[in-house]
Amino acid sequence: MAEEVEVIIAGDPRWLRLARGVVEEFLAQTGFHAQQREEIAVAVGEAVANVIRHAYKGDTRQKFSLLCNEGNGAVEIELRDQGEPFDPPKEPIPPPDETSAGGRGIFMMQAIMDEVEYTRQGNTNSVRMKKYLPGKTG
């Protein structure tokens, strides 16, 4: 898939809205309806928050990339950072118990997207989130 939209921004919570806005505008050019677009933006927002909080541990000077692609009946949103390596859980994560203040991000990403894949190449972490267009499957 060709990279259609690429955004490079600092890992700063103040750019979260900007990142979600880009994803929603990108999706507005695809076949997803409004509710699905919002949901996918939720998933991407969680992934970006994890880069900011965990990969970069709050160091807001570090930058990450947000890549949006469409092709083969699906959209794929990818984040790339040069932060801490992350060995993600192999199994789908259950939502935590109702008294827990955290631990819901990856669960939401997995619940909303069709595929969530973490990889590391060199010093770059990548998380790829794929969602098939309505009526398509993998």
Partner: protein
């Protein structure tokens, strides 16, 4: 995100407008916890009708508010949930954990 608090004796209504995400949720968290801890409020109503989006850090702030309320034998009531925040609460299986009122009047009781 903007926050306004209307306090009436032991009951406060917190009006939030804008997205509640990692950028803004710390302020909401602090506001709600302070109302229980420092102001000794018996009921805090969170009006979310002007909130289109809540992320997991926002959810965490809500959960902490609820935990604090329980500890203090107080009530933490949500009102005006829009579709997307409601959906996020549903997804994380928290929709039935919160006290949700149909209107501000009902919440004030």
């Amino acid at each position: 995100m903007e926050i306004k608090v209307k306090r009436d004796g032991s009951c406060s209504i917190v009006y939030v407008s804008g997205d509640i995400d990692l950028h803004s949720s710390p302020k909401l968290r602090e506001t709600v916890l302070d109302l229980f801890r420092k102001r000794g409020q018996e009921k805090v109503i969170l009006n979310l009708s002007q909130v289109p989006y809540v992320d997991s850090s926002g959810i965490a702030s809500l959960v902490e508010g609820l935990q604090e309320a329980k500890k203090k034998n107080a009530r933490f009531v949500l009102v005006g949930l829009n579709e997307s925040p409601r959906h996020v609460l549903e997804l994380t299986r928290l929709l039935n954990v919160f006290e949700i009122a149909a209107s501000e009047e009902e919440a004030v009781g």
